[in-house]
Subunit: 383 residues, 2 copies
């Protein structure tokens, strides 16, 4: 179950011919109310795709009644004509559903710099509207996949309300205020301001802590839609917990399905002066190709980790930092620690613990190893 | 011809058994005067190797009479004992040459986090001292290689004076105030303050504009030694020009020999508001794995370039930026430009031109593509 798990939502996913493979590529998620409050966070990238620019305007009013999504083309770097394509997409969906275009968010993903074939897209939206179903969430999740190998969905059960979500994302995966395409739905009763605070609290510690390949997309979008159909108004903390659970699950699924990855790497930075310091240190290590190659080779090369830490402005003393890999403290006091031969890196998950010994803040950043498969996937053809 | 091309220098390179392969691994460069002025720039990494900490102290006095260099071990993250090893190395060389240890700079390169076998190192320095020769520069250049496939040397002829240099560097190659190990020598007459200004001017536009893999070393060192043996005192600009020529040649050689690279990529950022903006934009693109993979695949994927530009704080308008690849303007006004099929990326060198259309400053950054060979070289064994 996914975005249609909460009451008040219908969805569909269809194949519209945007992808040359014939796989599903157009999805529609409709909030049937009785309420239509929504919040969104978007890529921090200044080069924003047309659907991001459009959806930011839609979300400014705090109301979303439908989300039109497509894979097979990002509609980014397509100029004024590309923006018009998005605008017309929202108008098309609005007229299909009898709602205003200004209540229709649009999300696109795929190759940058290519116009969408709107005739096929609109025909696909027609078909999606006809297929809308209260069980259609899984189809929608499949239709937004690009290089994803599996659809990504999540569910959290609150006290009298439900939160569901779907996500796509496999490359260009270093969200800074959001990630890739994510739609989270709930039947809880909540106003737009509350949803905005909840969504920012949830994404800050989930999607914002994933850095698979250091590249931030032009299209990152996370939407949270509330139908109020449960009639239950959860407390702020209850709603944060449920939405965070769904976002954390989706974020973890993004890491596991990242392009070419053979390892999921959890970087725990502890005893930092501030949470920002911890995030900065973790993110620097997550982006270091030499560290990522070493992890791929199952080599507990802690020297490369220290070299990365030294390039951050996180506060620590180079001779008072400890590093553990899968629980073995191979670096103590900034120098050789326990026997590196004790480290077993054969599993899919690798945990790096960095003790900055400077404060009491901490943060976790997730990344992947760097593999020949990643190089192949991103050099053999345009994506 | 290399560091011994200028009058007043002798050098040697020998095999001391620090490398398991038996390849040369210890070098000595001696300034025989009559003058001994010197300058140095060092890694900006806060995790500094013991020889960097030592040599920074030596250079504070502006006098260097000898440089002891070794490959086969970086002596980084080795704690107080590692620093003592470097100190004893300088004392050993000082006693061999009858000079003070405080006039001996030390440079090390190799694996981080491993102590050097000082017995073998000192025996190697003894052998190097015995082999010192006015033609010994090439041997020295060979002895500092690690994963380098070729030694790197350069020469510039000034008006009555000569500048020579040698460098090593193949991975962890993103110098920020210096690069890897570089020794530049001249027989010009110049005081330490002049040499310092000259060296900073030269490295700022050469080594500082190389970013092969985004990882900055703990050991980066560039030294400039002047013997005054020519008796010629060049003007500041003459000396800057000659030293910059040598540094630019060495920097270019570093790019061509970077680990696993199949392309040398020149990123020209033009019409930026400031030189800093141009460097920041170029460096962001140089570090983007998705861009580097696309170049490896000879795919003129300008969308990935725009996505990177959007994550910098360089000033430009997303709908008023142009990008050319090997001279074909595939992106105009932030959207699709000329036919990408016109781009020929089959050669070793790829030139990316980014026109920010915001000012009149420019900068060039050099980088490499990302290849499966890079992944293999950095995952198959510790380095």
């Amino acid at each position: 179950m996914t975005v249609t798990a909460p009451a008040g939502f219908r969805a569909a996913g269809v194949a519209a011919g945007l992808k040359s493979t014939g796989a599903p590529d157009v999805a529609l998620v409709v909030n049937e109310g009785p309420q239509f409050a929504a919040a969104g966070v978007f890529t921090r990238n200044r080069v924003k795709a047309a659907p991001v620019l459009w959806s930011q305007q839609v979300l400014a009013a705090g109301v979303v009644r439908a989300v039109a999504l497509n894979s097979g083309g990002a509609n980014a770097c397509t100029g004024p004509d590309g923006f018009l394509d998005t605008h017309r997409t929202a108008e098309h969906v609005g007229s299909l559903l009898g709602i205003g275009a200004g209540d229709v968010a649009v999300c696109s993903t795929g190759l940058i710099g290519v116009r969408l074939p709107t005739d096929r897209l609109f025909a696909g939206l027609d078909a999606a509207q006809a297929a809308l179903d209260a069980e259609g969430g899984d189809d929608a999740a499949r239709a937004i996949m690009t290089t994803d190998s599996v659809p990504k969905t999540a569910l959290a059960q609150g006290d009298g309300f439900v939160v569901g979500g779907m996500a796509k994302g496999a490359g260009m995966l270093a969200p800074s205020l959001a990630t890739m395409l994510v739609v989270v739905t709930t039947d809880a009763v909540a106003d737009a301001a509350t949803l905005d605070a909840v969504l920012r609290a949830a994404t800050r510690v989930t999607f914002d802590r994933v850095d698979s390949d250091g590249c931030t997309s032009t299209n990152d979008t996370v939407l949270l839609l509330a139908s109020g159909a449960s009639g239950v108004t959860p407390s702020y903390s209850e709603l944060v917990e449920a939405v965070t659970d769904v976002c954390a699950s989706l974020a973890r699924q993004l890491v596991t399905d990242a392009e070419g990855a053979s390892k999921d790497v959890r970087i725990d930075v502890v005893n930092a002066v501030s949470e920002d310091d911890a995030v900065n240190a973790g993110r620097a290590v997550s982006r270091a190709n030499l560290v990522k190659c070493a992890i791929h080779g199952e080599d507990p090369n802690w020297g490369r980790i220290l070299a990365e830490l030294g390039m951050t402005d996180a506060r620590f003393e180079p001779d008072a930092v400890d590093v553990a890999i899968n629980g073995v403290w191979v670096c103590r006091d900034g120098a050789t620690g326990d026997d590196r031969d004790l480290v077993d890196m054969s599993g899919r998950e690798v945990v790096i613990t960095i003790d900055l010994r400077s404060g009491d803040a901490s943060a976790t950043v997730w990344t992947n190893d760097l593999t020949a498969a990643y190089v192949h996937e991103n050099s053999a053809y345009s994506s």
